[in-house]
């Protein structure tokens, strides 16, 4: 101490700081904790097996009513059961909590689904899962859930009847083909936990008045309220990850992974995988494939999730539409479509992670239709694009003389010049937009590719204040969701919602403005067909109609690289048992975890 006291103040501070940093460095020395397992804190001190799945993003909320994004969905799929579930091998939807059901057609055209539930299922707090819980889950989600309201609304939640603990009936407007799939998404939550946040209204649904409008969503997820009946139960969560513990009393099997950790915001997925910080990557980059291919300890798949990427055209002819009116000319839209070499775009802009195609239903869907087999298929042909533009009267140059080069004009002096927006957080779309602009310029169409902040872009597209924009659409397994993007006058997601004659946050997704009564009629016809052979020709016809009218130009179906540590884990199955299926999606993660084996 004498020495320290003898030191000058500045030297003393420096010495203290140096010692502090040295201590920190010493503390950090030593070997890394082993990947795959970690010494547990249990009484026996046994190693416990963790399965750590890395995500590029974090959660929004793990609260089942406020959940919104992919990570949230994974957590909820692992904690809660659903009435129906995907069969990993076949890709079909099979019974889960529901063991049996019948569908009765009613005189008024509606249908009644009579469900029988398993009687041996319990929540992790020991309470049995009953028909009351199912009814409550559907009723509360329909009006309130960020993620599942559309799914729960597939049945008329005012007409749910609970017969006894294991029987209930649901009424739907019609026998829609997608009811089972929608019901397979809605988590069954315990009524005795969540009931306190809702009010049973006069209209027969669980809802909330203004005073408590957000109360259920404000519940912080914790062990005492995240009670489910799924394969895993809540362990803990912080700002870096969420860990779930195996539910050893699960009624439908078990998993080798005693803990499932969802690791958030992994910016270096490949490094984290290779260094053993995660066991699997929900999505890796195209550039990671080469490294993964050359390493026998890792395997990857390129899965198709049914998403497609496209250029959307504003062809709406209403007064409030602010898009360039020239895009209402079908030949112009078709000409742009024919300029585009989809294979080249997928290869160059999307790292070849995808299947170039032009129909609106993905190759992994049972309703896929290869548009190349259509007699009206046109394909990439710039010469044909020029012919279309000439036919539509775009034969002039900027000075009014016959067109020779540059941008084409029509007789009114209107140039073929359009803005193409893409979301500023999507560099791949940005690359695609650049290629599209270059391709179109060759036939005299000027495209100005512009990066726009995501939410601002949505504001523009919702109010028809755009010419063209890049968009990815995701899909359900059933084609109803993709097909109703273009429904206008009728249907669950019809777009024609107006307030005082002007569009106010519309109720549907058809922001192209393209509408066709025949298409709408076909939609209504096919959506109640459960027989695929009967339904397929109608779906095929609808795909052709969209292709012919070109309200969008589909570029291809996107692929996702999903990778895992094959030295530690084996037994993964791609959804549907085919080489294009994903291995990790929220609906299948529970079943996947019951199948895989830990190899030590």
């Amino acid at each position: 101490m004498k020495g320290l006291q003898a030191m000058k103040p500045i030297s003393r501070i420096l010495a203290f700081l140096m010692v502090f940093v040295l201590l920190l460095a010493l503390c950090a020395c030593g070997s890394a904790p082993a990947g795959g397992t970690t010494t547990g804190g249990n009484a026996s001190g046994n190693d416990q097996v963790y399965f750590r799945l890395g995500f590029k993003d974090g959660p929004d909320s793990l609260n089942p009513y406020a959940a919104d994004v992919t990570v949230d969905q994974f957590v909820l799929s692992l904690i809660y059961d659903t009435l129906f579930a995907y069969n990993l091998q076949t890709g079909e939807i099979t019974n889960s909590l529901c063991t049996d059901y019948t569908v009765d057609k009613n005189d008024d055209g509606t249908c009644t689904w009579n469900l029988t539930l398993r009687s041996d299922v319990k929540f992790t707090d020991g309470q049995p899962v009953t028909a009351e819980d199912v009814a409550f889950s559907l009723m509360s989600a329909a009006d309130f859930s960020s993620l599942y309201s559309t799914d729960a609304s597939v049945v008329d939640t005012k007409k749910i009847t609970v017969t006894d603990a294991t029987h209930l009936s649901l009424v739907a407007d019609n026998d829609y083909a997608y009811i089972k799939e929608c019901l397979s998404n809605v988590p069954i939550v315990p009524k005795h936990i969540w009931n306190q946040y809702f009010k049973y209204g006069d209209n027969g649904v669980y809802t909330a008045d203004e005073d408590t409008a957000q109360s259920a969503k404000e519940v912080t997820p914790a062990a005492e309220n995240m009670i489910g009946s799924g394969l895993y139960k809540w362990d803990y969560a912080d700002d870096t990850c969420c860990t779930l513990a195996l539910n050893k009393d699960y009624w439908n099997g078990t998993s080798d992974a005693q803990f499932f950790t969802l690791t958030y915001n992994v910016s270096n997925m490949l490094t984290a995988l290779q260094s053993g910080e995660i066991d699997a990557a929900y999505t890796a980059n195209a550039s990671d494939i080469q490294s993964l291919s050359g390493n026998q300890n890792f395997k990857y798949v390129i899965g198709d999730n049914g998403d497609y990427t496209c250029v959307s055209f504003n062809c709406h002819d209403a007064d409030y539409s602010k898009g360039n009116p020239l895009l209402r000319v079908p030949e112009v839209r078709e000409a742009i479509d024919r300029c585009l070499d989809k294979s080249y775009i997928i290869q160059m802009a999307y790292g070849n992670l995808g299947i170039p195609d032009e129909g609106i239903i993905g190759a992994n869907s049972p309703y896929y239709y290869d548009i190349k087999n259509y007699e009206g298929y046109k394909g990439n042909n710039p010469d044909a694009a020029v012919a279309l533009l000439e036919k539509a009267g775009f034969t002039y140059g900027a000075d009014g003389s016959a067109y020779t080069s540059g941008t084409r004009y029509n007789a009114d002096g209107k140039p073929l010049s359009f803005n193409l927006y893409y979301s500023s957080d999507n560099t791949e779309d940005g690359d695609a937009a650049t290629i599209i602009a270059a391709e179109c310029s060759k036939v005299g169409i000027e495209i100005n590719a512009q990066s726009i902040e995501k939410y601002t872009l949505w504001d523009y597209t919702d109010s028809y204040d755009y010419d063209m924009y890049m968009i990815e659409w995701s899909a359900y397994n059933d084609p109803f969701f993709v097909l109703n993007y273009f429904v206008w006058n009728d249907g669950a997601n019809a777009y024609s919602t107006t307030v005082d004659g002007t569009v106010q946050y519309p109720g549907g997704w058809n922001d192209t403005g393209w509408n066709n009564q025949n298409y709408d009629a076909l939609y209504k016809q096919q959506v109640v067909m459960s027989d695929k052979t009967e339904r397929y020709p109608i779906v095929q016809k609808m795909i052709q109609m969209v292709y012919d009218a070109s309200p969008i130009s589909v570029l291809g179906y996107l692929g996702y690289v999903q990778a895992y540590n094959s030295a530690h884990w084996s037994g993964f199955t791609q959804l549907g048992g085919n080489s294009q299926g994903m291995i990790f999606t929220a609906p299948i993660v529970s079943q996947q975890m019951r199948q895989i084996q830990y190899n030590g």
């Binding site: 909320s61 992994v266 910080e277 307030v499």
Partner: protein, 348 residues
Amino acid sequence: MAGAFIPPSFCIVPKEVTNLSQAIRIAKKIFYLLITIFFVLVFNFVLFRLLPGSISTKMAHTAHANATALANLDKYYGLNQPMVQQFLTYFTKLLHLDLGNTFASYGGGTDVWDVMASRIGPTVVLLGLAEIIAFILGTVFGVIAGWKRGKVIDKTLLTSSLTFYAMPTFWLSMMLILIFCTKANLLPSMGMYTTGFRKEIVGAAAYYKDVARHLILPLACMSLGLAGEYTLTMRSTMMDVLTEDYMTTARAKGFKEGYVLRKHALPNAMLPMVTLICMNLGFAIGGAITLEQMFSWPGIGALTYTAIANRDYTLLQGIFLLTTVSTIVANFLADILYGFIDPRIKNS
């Protein structure tokens, strides 16, 4: 004699007068501090509402909400009120330290203070330690470089400092990850601790050791850049000080070079460093967005990224308020500190 250090014993101002003037000076500084903070509040409030787009758009796309639902949301969050009324509500709540609830992040409706509180610790640990390391390295290297001006060691330190100072954080992060994680597999590349290494499971010692391992790379990345900045500043001021007359006088008195450096050069050269360090400490509370994103470090910087991505007005307001107020307070502390370490200011 500009910048000369006058030892307090040479001052002839009475102590009572000195204390009074010091108190007045501090009171004035506090007054200006409060005014600045008020304008920051106004600016923070207005700025985020001038951004294009609305939170309703996000809700419409995720929850597929109809016009009625969106109107109810606007009402719930008070977004349907006039701007002045919104500001008054915001300001009144702020006086009660109520920053409101998040708009969109964390499912919406979570207390902003709660969200930020869990992130402040990791950021302060990371950036606070980085500041300490950078201060030590920057001071030592800066003194050496200034002292040995033109020599090989000066050129080496100058080049390396400039390199690290100019190097973008994301690039340095990538290189460190590539070398120490991907190739050598020596250190963790992400997060604050290994999965399962919770304090209550593995014990405090193992937990902190694990956290320390996770700290090394982000800490190295941050402190190298800061150390470069501090070295350059220290070297520059050191060279100025070394040419002062009082340095020649000290040497002429026969003091040893080391003594001259420590007693006469270092205290004067430290003055600009105090401002720089205080300002950087203020910014440190706001986190380092790129660094925390690259290393998946759960701090305020990463939270800012999330808040921007979700256009979460209230959360962004909270973060920016924290950042700006901490910077202003740090600047204030630097001013006060100056008064104590530089007698010319204290006695003015």
